[in-house]
């Protein structure tokens, strides 16, 4: 049984702010120049709530895939920030907390046969973990064939746009996960959670330090799981954190720079949970990925969670 990602659609808000504009409005902790040295250029900022971006991304996915919405068996909605799991404005009535965006997306997009669930508390690893959940769902449900995974996050209006030296964009990505997929077959996935770092403010320095050796460890483990060597990986699809951190991580991994698809770090910023899959979509659209190539994705989410996934294109 091959399960894979057969289509990816994403939505980035048109409105983009340069680092200098963000600095001028007090929305960066670091100087704009330093973040520019780290590979960033601009971020995309949404005036719409997260679920609106999610609905748009899923709508595009259904149109581009030309699949019947009623043929979708499940939808997993991954949001990194807590507000992404509550549709509409925070309200005085606590029952508004039950206004789940996944239900709204299911309704708006006509996914009448889709079981819905949210994937949360994984930070930026949410969407990758949702894909793993979709694979597990399909493996456990012989009658099911299609799952949509969607992530959408929008930072609060006027909130800081820098998280641990990374410039953050709003955005959404929707993936179609299918049984019998001819491309982007899931070969291996590994997640490591280290609850010691649960307090991301108090343990910020320790997280920075733990990030690198744990990343090296999980990449090696995932390669072993896939029975592959690092040399057999054709592309490394990053999460769009600072290019500097990727240069360091490439040094740890022993992977050449040209295998890193890093052009989106400057152009799109760190689109929270969606980065890896936006990069896969762009890599494919640019014709850079060939059938049979092995693609390695690595991501990290506060919590702290490290994730690594290997696909065969």
């Amino acid at each position: 049984m091959s399960i894979g990602i057969t289509n990816i659609q994403y939505v980035l808000p048109e409105q983009a702010h340069t680092l200098e504009a963000l600095e001028a409005s007090g929305r960066l902790e670091s100087p704009a120049g330093r973040l520019r040295e780290f590979g960033f250029d601009r971020v995309h900022v949404s005036a719409e709530p997260a679920e609106t971006l999610a609905i748009e991304a899923v709508g595009r996915l259904l149109r581009e895939s030309a699949v019947d919405p009623e043929s979708i068996d499940a939808i997993f909605y991954a949001g990194a920030i807590p507000a992404s799991h509550c549709a509409g404005a925070a309200a005085e009535n606590f029952l508004h907390g039950f206004n789940y965006p996944v239900s709204r997306v299911q309704f708006e997009c006509g996914l009448v046969n889709a079981a819905a669930a949210g994937v949360s508390q994984l930070g930026c690893l949410g969407l990758m973990s949702a894909v793993r959940s979709a694979e597990g769902f399909l493996a456990a449900s012989p009658a099911a064939n299609r799952v949509i995974c969607v992530s959408a996050d929008v930072f609060p209006h006027a909130a800081p746009r820098e998280v641990i030296y990374n410039a953050i964009s709003d955005g959404a990505a929707a993936l179609l996960i299918e049984r019998g997929a001819a491309r982007n077959r899931l070969l291996a996935y590994r997640q490591i959670t280290k609850g010691y770092y649960w307090d991301c403010i108090a343990r910020k320095n320790e997280i920075v330090a733990a990030y690198f050796p744990t990343a090296q460890h999980i990449v090696r483990e995932t390669l072993t799981q896939a029975a592959l060597t690092l040399e057999e990986i054709d592309w490394l699809l990053p999460h769009n954190v600072s290019r500097r951190s990727w240069e360091i991580l490439l040094g740890l991994l022993g992977l050449p720079r040209e295998k890193l698809f890093d052009r989106n770090i400057a152009a799109k910023g760190h689109v929270i949970a969606a980065d890896n899959f936006i990069n896969l979509a762009d890599l494919t659209d640019l014709g850079l990925a060939r059938p049979g190539q092995k693609l390695l994705m690595f991501n990290f989410g506060l919590g702290a969670n490290w994730g690594c996934m290997i696909l065969e294109h």
Binding site: Y165, N205, A209, F212, E247, I248, G251
Partner: protein, 357 residues
């Protein structure tokens, strides 16, 4: 004829222990211990403390009595500037050599140096080798290298031997680390999840010794096997662990001696190419976050040495120590005891606490 010994740097880790060890020797009549300040000097039998600064001309009334000089004074800070390191490690030696030339009864002089005069050399390092153009990891190494060059120019005027010490990690009995050094700090950073990477290769040897081995060897060699013009390595040599073995051992000690540490699931530092380590250090310094900066500053001046794979040969020292009963420490046992002590004392020594959050 009993010996009258002058020790410089007698308040340092090695100098202090050496003074105590030599004082126990019946053949030693008196020890003059030179210290810049006499406020914190320990009371030891036969030891008289003299206030003095080795970077200034030493005019001692007792010069005519002295039969043995041990020059242990040094600026051992890895982060110090070359000019500051030279002032003490070369300039200081020059003053002591000048004093030695005015000691009519002088029979033996020992200059304590470091095996890391080898700097960035790689491969097997012999005791009789000094000259190289590989460069140095820090000013301490370079200044000690230059001090040995100075020793050579005085070799026909003063009966002097060079004892190159390895990194002293602590005492064998009880694992007291003594004054905390860079290696202890690095272990502390590992414990506190602040050590992401170390430059080197997993198979590179990390040469360490115990304070007992260093002091016992020097005392024995001075008394029984002194050979002017010789250079000996007081080091771990074949007993050394590889970098990977040492990291695993330290992690294992954290698990054994502080079982609750296990649930933190702190990763073993990655062993990385030097340029990757330097890029990380540069990034931390650019970010300017205070705690991370303190951590990288504490290790960046010595950690690159682990990248330059070398194996120190101590065969001449072993021959000289053959009848002494003194043996290189068993490294796993030594390191385990030191790590245990560090955990138990939370990286405090002599009232000084490690730089951690």
């Amino acid at each position: 004829m009993n010996d009258v010994i002058l020790i410089t740097g007698a308040t340092g880790s090695v100098g202090r222990e050496l003074a105590g060890a030599l004082a126990c020797d019946p053949a030693v009549e008196r020890i003059y211990a030179v210290s810049r300040g006499i406020g914190s000097t320990p009371e030891l039998p036969k030891v008289a403390w003299i206030r003095g600064d080795v970077t200034l001309p030493l005019r001692l009334d007792v010069a005519r009595e002295i039969t043995v000089i041990v020059h242990a004074a040094a600026d051992t800070r890895f982060s110090t500037s070359l000019s500051a390191a030279r002032a003490v490690n070369v300039g200081g030696l020059e003053q002591v050599l000048a004093l030695a030339s005015r000691c009519p009864r002088l029979r033996r002089m020992a200059h304590l140096s470091t095996i890391y005069v080898a700097g960035r050399r790689c491969g097997r390092v012999l005791e009789n080798e000094l000259d190289h153009n590989a460069g140095f990891v820090n000013a301490y190494e370079q200044s000690k290298y230059e001090s040995e060059q100075l020793v050579r120019t005085w070799a026909n005027k003063v009966p002097i031997a060079v004892y190159r010490l390895s990194t002293i990690i602590g005492e064998e009995a009880g694992g007291d680390p003594g004054k905390l050094g860079a290696i202890h700090q690095a272990m502390g950073f590992m414990y506190h999840s602040l050590a992401p990477m170390i430059p080197g290769s997993p198979g590179n040897l990390i040469d360490l010794i115990s304070l007992n081995y260093a002091v016992g060897s020097i005392a024995w060699l001075l008394r029984h096997r002194f050979e002017p013009g010789s250079t000996l390595h007081i080091c771990g040599a074949d007993e050394s662990l590889t970098l990977d073995e040492l990291l695993d051992l330290v992690i294992d000690c954290f698990h054994r001696f502080r079982p609750a540490w296990r649930k933190r699931a702190i990763a073993k530092p990655a062993v990385v190419p030097l340029e990757t380590f330097e890029l990380f250090v540069r990034s931390v310094e650019e970010i300017g976050e205070a705690t991370l900066c303190r951590c990288v500053n504490a290790i960046k001046h010595f950690a690159p040495q682990m990248f330059y794979s070398k194996r120190f040969d101590d065969s001449q020292a072993q021959r000289a120590l053959a009848d002494s009963g003194i043996q290189r420490p068993r490294m796993r046992q030594l390191c385990s005891q030191v790590v245990r002590r560090l955990i138990e004392t939370n990286w405090t020594a002599a009232g000084r606490e490690l730089v951690t959050p």
